[in-house]
Amino acid sequence: MTQLALPDADLAWVEGPQDQRFRRSARGALRAVATPSVAIPGAVFLLVVLACFAGPALFGIPGPNAGSITSTMLPLGSPGHLLGTNELGNDELSRLLFGGRVSIIVGVGATAISLLAGCLLGMSACYFGGFYEKFIMRLFDTLLAFPSLILALAIADYLGPALRNTILAISVFGVSQFGRLAWSQTLRIRDRDFVVAPRADGARGRRIIFGHILPNVIPPLLGLALFNVGTAMMMEAGLSYLGLGIAQPNPSWGNMISDGQQYLYNAPRLVIMPCIALVVALVSLNLTADAIARRQETRA
């Protein structure tokens, strides 16, 4: 490896102690976040997350199923029920917050699983090549060509509507996207010196993949992951709307919308409120992801 071509600053960076490197990259990450186009929507999304997870405990909001049949369909702004109650007398605000919890857990959980699976499959396919690579790539093609919603519907239906199953069903979708990106990123660096050298040195495939390829592949995958959280949340809403995601009595934005649909004429707020919550969460998340992706692009 020639180090002559590197400027002094970069040399110091490469040879510098580990913790300094970490501090620098942390500072770099901070700088990337500290622009209004990232920070504002990011803050809105974090606020939504915070409200969903800490809100009920902080403000002593009743449980999502703690309603009483004597106080059904209260309008907006009723005392004790800021957003009113639904047809069973359950507090709408509480259902909205608990539903958001579910939505966020599903979004993050499903994305984590598809990121992990796609990344492993894509990297290993590109690294080992041969028939294995062909097989995996055709598998990704199939997952893309396969009616993905049907896949999720069938999985969710077979496993039954529950949080864990919804996460699993939705995670299947993202795998091929992450996998293809991991594959193309690996392809880009597969024949570079820092991959070939340890191989010549006798390092095992596993060590090369995790020690040398993974750190170079992961940043664009993380960018995609942020978008994917939004997509997964959207799918969760869709599945729950169809009655195959999160099941009653547990609230989720999707099933709140489908429940409220029968009162569309008399109490459209039951539909409109979860719609607004969903849209605010998704728009702020996507704006953040978009701004971060843009910054990555301009720096690269």
């Binding site: 060509a145 396969f146 239906d157 077979y158 869709g238 169809l242 569309l264 004429y265 728009v283 996507n286």
Partner: protein, 314 residues
């Protein structure tokens, strides 16, 4: 070129075989429940055995798959054990509403794309505005758009019907199209942001880099004229490819919109089949959708090669 097509066809067939195997395994997982669906809650073991023998479920899975595949290749998709309907004609009957919905959605999104792109090219300061609009549209699920439109146009303003589908044969085309307006918009809005991004980046590339634009300007053509006569036609290749790809993709994405508006298309068929554990129907639908996706992908790639000589040369 010919080699490329043959290559692609082989890949397509591999993908289709994978997809049918996957679909087959998937519905076999549900299949034990198909007996359940037919026989009710408490059936005897004899009845279950007799029924699975009748449906051919007692044979090993690979044999079942090959029998089904052999029949399907010859155009026989079997008969649904649950509804006693022949699968082929049922799929065909559901195709009409879905195709209409897809055409409507594509029209809506193409119109939106052309408008937003020309506006953002003509008045540069609107670029961020249209980008924001696109982001908003891609963040809102289609069923949310659909429901909000129903609240606004059906229950509040009483302009459009909330239950969309009216057969053109019995109700006439006017009623039919009136009903399809909202579903088309709901679906079209969700795909338009991708179209806009592709078209706009290509248009910008043309405007910045190509000499014919400068030449046309030098000859004294007005801005809009250069844009419509020269820049747009040269920028369409990416968009046309994307439209083809999206069409394949949307066929499986219509389930929710069809449910919202009560349209009896492929999406509703699939949804009902899953709910009723209708394995045979589901297998047929999966094959149909996979074929559609693969074929539209090929069309997209071919269109791109036809339209962009630089790719053909490779």
């Amino acid at each position: 070129m010919a080699r490329w097509i043959i290559d692609r066809l082989i890949q397509m067939i591999v993908v289709l075989i994978f997809a049918t195997v996957l679909g087959f395994l998937l519905v076999r997982l549900l299949k034990g429940n198909e007996l359940f669906a037919l026989l009710g809650d408490n059936y005897t073991k004899q009845a279950a055995d007799a029924l699975s023998a009748q449906l051919g479920l007692n044979k090993p899975l690979p044999i079942q798959y090959l029998t089904w595949l052999g029949d399907a290749v010859r155009g026989d998709f079997g008969t649904s054990a649950v509804t006693q309907q022949a699968v082929g004609p049922a799929l065909l009957a559901a195709l009409g509403p879905t195709v209409e919905l897809l055409i409507g959605a594509q029209l809506v999104s193409l119109v939106l794309t052309l408008i937003t792109t020309s506006v953002s090219v003509r008045w540069r300061w609107t670029e961020r505005l249209t980008t924001g609009l696109a982001l908003l549209c891609s963040s809102v699920p289609s069923f949310v758009v659909g429901l909000l439109m129903i609240v606004l146009f059906s229950t509040t303003l009483h302009l459009l019907p909330a239950i969309a589908w009216a057969s053109p044969k019995t109700a006439g085309w006017g009623t039919n199209i009136e009903g399809m307006i909202m579903p088309s918009i709901a679906l079209g809005i969700s795909v338009f942001p991708n179209y806009m991004r592709v078209l706009r980046s290509q248009v910008n590339e043309q405007l910045e880099n190509e000499e014919y634009v400068t030449l046309a300007r030098m000859k004294g053509l007005s801005g809009p004229r250069v844009f419509i006569r020269h820049v747009v036609p040269n920028s369409l290749s990416g968009l046309i490819t994307l439209v083809a790809l999206t069409t394949g993709f949307l066929i499986s994405g219509v389930v929710i919109v069809e449910q919202v508006f009560g349209i009896p298309g492929e999406g509703s068929l699939v949804y009902n089949a899953i709910q009723k554990r209708d394995a045979t129907m589901l297998e047929g639908a999966i094959l149909l959708i996979a074929v559609a996706v693969v074929v539209f992908n090929l069309i997209g790639e071919l269109a791109q090669m036809r339209l962009d000589p630089r790719i053909r040369a490779r």
